[in-house]
């Protein structure tokens, strides 16, 4: 209980720090804060299907991209800003529920392949449906009113609210019957089905929850950037990055996605700034490192033991290999 209280306090402080960036920092830092909240929100939502339910979903980019496009097209046709965002979220939720009903019959490798294919199909359709989406030329989105500073802080607070909403949903799911059912599915789906858990419905709910916030984030992102194109909106990189963030923090935990997204984005920012040409390889190295040395994520590391081991190593002479650690 103490430990979890500590986690909550840390989280509130972290969010407060992000929220206060417009007060003291320049636009560049606010931009980092926005991508922190944006990816944290997507990581929290991926956690519903990938963490709690244990389904290796790689369709995040499809939901994000559809959110971008629905929001943008709605706004271009005169729908007010906030309504366009809501519309995008609803559209993505319905899309995910219908898609989930079909694709969630698959398991393991087939589900992974199917979910990646969804990203490809949505991207290809968006590129070739030129009359609606502008095709490969992309789409201009009406710009937000105000000077850059105001726009950035506005977007930051909207993204932060999405994150908080996603996080609260995640806490609720974790403690409710739904979360329990999802964890059962994760451990043994057949057994869960046998004892009367309606696995199909619960999986679809988890899949829809994992999609809806990504859709909202996408729509807000489109309004912020002002220009979207199929390659950026439906990127395979995004679809793998989000699960990696969750794995980095700890899949299936409430706080893991936020910790992972935070660590990942900050690392990425450092590498983008210093090793522009090598950033992709470095991200690859992070993934390899993560899989071999942090298989359960940052949160599940036993920090006390790690700390003691470090102290022990320092105290003893390096030549002894006594393995007391």
């Amino acid at each position: 209980m103490m430990k979890s209280l500590l986690h909550y306090v840390a989280l509130v402080l972290w969010l407060a720090l992000i929220a206060s960036t417009p007060l003291f920092a320049d636009n560049y830092t606010i931009r980092i804060a926005i991508s922190l909240t944006m990816f944290s929100a997507m990581a929290v939502s991926w956690n519903f299907i990938g963490g709690f339910t244990g389904y290796p979903s790689f369709s995040t980019a499809a939901f994000f991209g559809i959110g971008c496009y629905v929001g943008a097209i709605a706004q271009r046709n005169g729908v007010p800003l906030v309504l366009a965002w809501v519309l995008a979220s609803v559209f993505v939720a319905v899309f995910a529920a219908l898609l989930g009903a079909i694709i969630l019959r698959l398991k393991g490798h087939y589900f992974a392949i199917g979910s990646i294919a969804i990203v490809e199909v949505t991207r290809l359709i968006t590129s070739s449906w030129g009359s609606l989406t502008g095709g490969g030329d992309g789409l201009n989105v009406p710009l937000l009113q105000g000077n850059p500073q105001e726009v950035a802080s506005f977007v930051l607070y909207v993204m932060l609210s999405i994150l908080v909403l996603a996080f609260c949903t995640s806490i609720y799911v974790d403690r409710s019957k739904l979360g329990f059912a999802l964890k059962c599915i994760s451990q043994n789906e057949d057994a869960a089905n046998m004892v009367g858990v309606n696995t199909t419905v619960y999986k679809i709910i988890a899949y829809t929850l994992s999609a809806v916030f990504c859709g909202t984030v996408g729509a807000v992102y489109a309004s912020w950037i002002g220009y979207i194109d199929p390659t950026d909106s439906f990127s395979i990189l995004l679809t793998v990055k989000v699960p990696v963030m969750v794995l980095l923090g700890g899949a299936g935990t409430v706080f893991g996605p936020i910790v992972g997204a935070g660590a990942f984005i900050l690392l990425e920012e450092v590498f983008w700034a210093n090793f522009l040409e090598w950033n992709r390889a470095i991200l690859g190295l992070i993934i390899v490192f993560l899989i071999f040395f942090l298989p359960n994520g940052l949160l599940k590391l036993d920090y006390n033991r790690l700390f003691k081991r470090l102290i022990n190593k320092k105290a003893r002479t390096p030549r002894t290999m006594d393995g007391t650690s």
């Binding site: 699960p243 040409e277 190295l285």
Partner: protein, 286 residues
Amino acid sequence: MDIVQILLNGIVLGSLYACIAIGFSLVWGVLNVINMLHGSFIILGGYLTFFAWQYFGINPILALPFIATTLFCLGYVLQYFFINKVVTAPVLTTLTLTFGLDMILYNLMTVFFTATPRRVTLDLGTLNIGDLYLPVDRLLGMGLALCLTALLFLVMRVSKIGRAIVAVRMDRQAATLMGIRVNHVYAITFGIGAFMAGAAGAVFSMVFPVTTNLTGVFLGKAFVICVIGGLGSVPGALIGGIALGLIESIAGYTIGPQNAITVGFVLMLVLLVIRPSGIAGVKGYE
């Protein structure tokens, strides 16, 4: 355009596709790993062929065995030292790991080779039969692709290592008890996957320009072919490849080339749901 010409184009393209997918299918079927590196292996093979031709004047067909063997070694090392450690982990872990390795390889290729589209131009002319047009380099590519496929089929059927791979695929535990070194067989299998990818890349560079931006496209084709044809069997990949070639060729003619790829993916999704083991697949290999 004549219907015969469309079908012929489809078969020529399909044989090349089969060559792309066969290594991927083998790795997925035997190791149960979705190898995200496959696309980069193909491009690496293509680039090496191009450089051998451009700077040393080596004929691509002569260079092919050496380049494929280089990729075999790369694949063996990657599997033996990295992927073997997590090979029994859930798909999320293995897929993410190979994706991470792919990002490293991709970055190395773009930095050292740059992403310029490159093609080995052999200038072999075109073969005309009646009103059918067949570029000779494509026919050559098709012939090579079919030879490679047949070679792999033979290796899997008659060689000792091929039988060992099949045994490990059927039952890992029993294979271990029979004295098969599973880690070594896994590494060999992954190596063969990389070998076939490298060879496919070499063949492709004679027919189409290759660039690092195509890694995802090749990987996507491999996905679709594996699902259409079924996993882990050589004939399955061949059937899947030719089926996809025909589908893309016909779709390209009827509803436009920009939609041809979409048709392949949609067909794959439909097949995944109604018959996940593929047209020629064996049930029971999850």
